[in-house]
Amino acid sequence: MVNLGPMMAKATWETLYMVGAAAFFTLLLGLPLGVLLVITARGGLWEKPGLNRVLGVLVNIGRSTPFVILMVAVTPLTRAIVGSSIGTTAAIVPLVVAAVPFMGRVVEQALHEVSPGLVEAALAMGSTNWQVVTKVLLAEARPSLVRGTALMLVNVVGYSAMAGAIGGGGLGDVAVKWGYARYEMDVMYVSLVILVVMVQVMQWIGDSLANRFTHK
């Protein structure tokens, strides 16, 4: 039996680091992407059918590419940004590339739920497009956005388990290396339990925040 403690702690930290950083950048890029998808659409606040179509296609490509393939495909990008294509930090790049299109759709859907009447009322009161987006669309969609963010986090946790393939480390990597390759089932189960707890906590925080923001 190996000394589990330090190894599990390190793997947990790696997972949290990868997921946290990836989620941060995903929000940073996914929110504007989702907003653009909505406002550039036909009949939107800032109609740009060409841009809308291009974004739509990009998002669909990102969404339909399996993560394992994406991870390899973005290697040049990873190297350009991080300086290396191997390691925990390097794994953040493909995680973001995979999660942004997903987040974009989540945001798009959340904003679509906001009644067009509210946008209309805001415009009738002399709002700028920026004010409509920030004070009405994003504000009214907040419960759905929070729920969507939790969903994105859970997804990123899932992707991060595959990051071992490019030396990303983390709990998924430990589970595969020890459980699958060496039949150390204890290590695998412990990793699994930590992952499940992580996902549960994310979901729980997401749900309770969303409920707090709901006034319908």
Binding site: S115, L118, A121, M125, T128, H215
Partner: protein, 332 residues
């Protein structure tokens, strides 16, 4: 205050053209409550949305308070919109904001300082009678309360014009009456010009000074409510009253059936008894309704006159002189 000149709006939908408004010209005098009456699909919403340019007219001009709205830059248009409040059938309150936050919204947009926003919102909530609901969310309010919040929000920046798109259509009759009374009060207290669209004659009856009737995207009639009701053969009168034949049975087969319209002063005098005393005729009131409309008494009576033909003719001339425009209904 509001002037529409040759307004036309054509929607293009899967290659088809839908003419929602065609060459509509309207004049809404300052300080009036002006109703636009029309059935579903007549183009009412399209028309009112053209006033603040939520909808761009295909052709024609929109003038509000001496400025041509259709020619403003985007920035000028936003400023102009802050001078036009709007209320909606579905209220369109922000669910994520409290009542206070909703009323504060247009002031935030207009860049008011916090302290002034606070004072102004308090003032408006008092005006619409919702001071105790400042911290409630729209989901916790009744329909009537929601529309009061809508009105407070629309009035917050101190607009010159209020646009109302079927503001009472989602409310029950009692609530409708109280919301209309509030609009009337605001109109009188603040001298606000109100353009309201509706498919309900009741709304026109209760609050409108003037009315335009919209049918199939064109204005078929416009003018003062009392003037139009007083005018024989007007479309408003036709819409206002059911056909006589449907509401009254014939009592004296030989009697001359006459419909009398009373508007304003003539309704306040005992004309029928005066007529009966002066001429050798009997009058039988078969059907009648007297209401208060636009602050005046308005009535329609269906009477059957019996007596000698020459006496009846004299009586009819007397009624004509009294300005109640008698209409004799032919037998059959």
């Amino acid at each position: 205050m509001i002037e529409l000149k040759g307004l036309t709006k054509i929607f293009k939908q899967n290659g088809q053209e839908i003419v929602a408004l065609s060459d509509v010209s309207l004049h809404v005098p300052r300080g009036q409550i002006f109703g636009i009456l029309g059935q579903s699909g007549a183009g009412k919403s399209t028309l009112i949305r053209c006033v603040n340019l939520l909808e761009r007219p295909t052709a024609g001009e929109v003038w509000v308070d001496g400025r041509e709205i259709t020619r403003l830059s985007p920035r000028e248009l936003r400023a102009a919109r802050q001078e036009m409040g709007m209320i909606f059938q579905q209220f369109n309150l922000f669910d994520a904001r409290t009542v206070f936050g909703n009323v504060a919204y247009p002031l935030e947009v207009a860049g008011w300082p916090r302290q002034r926003i606070w004072e102004r919102v308090e003032e408006l909530l008092a005006l619409v009678g919702l001071s105790d609901k400042a911290d409630a969310y729209p989901a916790q309010l009744s329909g009537g309360q929601k529309q009061r919040v809508g009105i407070a929000r629309a009035l917050a920046p101190g607009p010159k014009v209020l646009l109302s798109d079927e503001a009472t259509s989602a409310l029950d009759p009692d609530t409708t009456r109280s919301v209309l009374a509030l609009l009337r009060e605001i109109n009188q207290r603040l001298g606000l010009t109100i353009l309201l669209i509706t498919h309900q004659m009741e709304v026109v009856k209760q609050v409108c000074d003037s009315v335009a009737i919209l049918e199939g995207g064109t204005v078929v009639e416009q003018g003062g409510v009392l003037e139009l009701i007083g005018r024989p053969g007007s479309r408003l009168r036709e819409l206002f009253y059911e056909p006589v034949g449907d509401v009254a049975v014939r009592i004296h087969p030989e009697g001359v059936r006459v419909v009398l319209f009373f508007v304003g002063a003539s309704a306040d005098q005992p004309l029928i008894s005066a007529m009966v005393r002066r001429f050798q005729v009997d009058a039988n009131i078969v059907h009648g309704a007297v209401e208060r409309i636009a602050g005046a008494t308005v009535g329609r009576l269906l009477v059957e006159l019996t007596g000698r033909p020459e006496d009846i003719q004299a009586a009819l001339r007397f009624l004509e002189e009294q300005g109640v425009s008698p209409e004799v209904i032919p037998h059959g």
